[in-house]
């Protein structure tokens, strides 16, 4: 009966984690050096379906969870900037491999997904209130 709240709630959590990853990527789009001395690498969350109850039942419903965060393997962008203290011998600086446009698109998709799930929760709540008031005038 309350499975809808669990399912859509898990989607809200997953999408807010996705938003956090996007925020981190956009904020660090120009971070030439991280704690390990390397330029920042873009991070992406990986979604996975999480069945509620028995995974092998004929009615596998379930929410979604973030199964992991992967770092992008894309090469760093090399920018010619000899004045930069991080520049190598040839005057090139390794910049983070964050694709800001793709991250913006990702953010919009995450927020739309979040909205859709909020709507599902609201609808389920309305229906549940209606069920509770059966027979009342």
């Amino acid at each position: 009966m309350f499975a809808v709240f669990k399912i859509s709630g898990s989607a809200l959590m997953a999408n807010s984690q996705r938003m956090n990853a996007v925020a981190s990527n956009i904020a660090n789009a120009n971070s030439v050096s991280g704690p390990d001395g390397q330029p920042y690498r873009a991070r992406q969350v990986v979604f996975q379906m999480q069945p509620l109850g028995d995974a092998h039942s004929t009615h596998p419903i379930g929410g979604v969870r973030v199964s992991g965060v992967v770092e992008s393997k894309a090469p760093f962008k090399r920018v010619y900037d000899p004045g930069n203290p991080m520049a190598d011998g040839y005057g090139y600086v390794n910049m983070p491999n964050v694709d800001v446009v793709a991250e913006t698109v990702n953010m919009i998709a995450a927020s739309r997904s979040y909205q859709a799930n909020v709507e599902v929760i609201n609808t389920a709540k309305t229906l549940m209130n209606k069920t509770l008031s059966i027979g009342q005038s």
């Binding site: 989607a11 997953a14 379930g62």
Partner: protein
Amino acid sequence: MQTALALRQRRMELLATNIANADTPNYKARDFDFKQALADAMGISNGPLPPPKLTLTSERHIPGEGFGGTNFSPKYRIPYQTSMDGNTVEMDIERLAFADNTTQQQAGLNFVSSDIQRLMSALQPT
């Protein structure tokens, strides 16, 4: 009517799962035919066969019963447009199905509610 409402509830959970997993790679959207499921649940269709039983020819035989077909079997949706990550959720179709399901469930709840109210008004002293 209770069967219909219970099935509506299960369909809502299924559609909520589809919407929640709209971005999960390799997730396949599922749904079921409400009319068929209701007919199966009410036993007015030649849908699933009853569970098979062992014939007992001696009183020392152990009675056995097999598994019958379940009357509830969600099918995979056939996507109109495929996506690279193997996900078959199409948000507009899911939202449409969800809205349709919600309206029908509200109608069902209204029917039940008005049934009870009619009963109450019949019980009222004039």
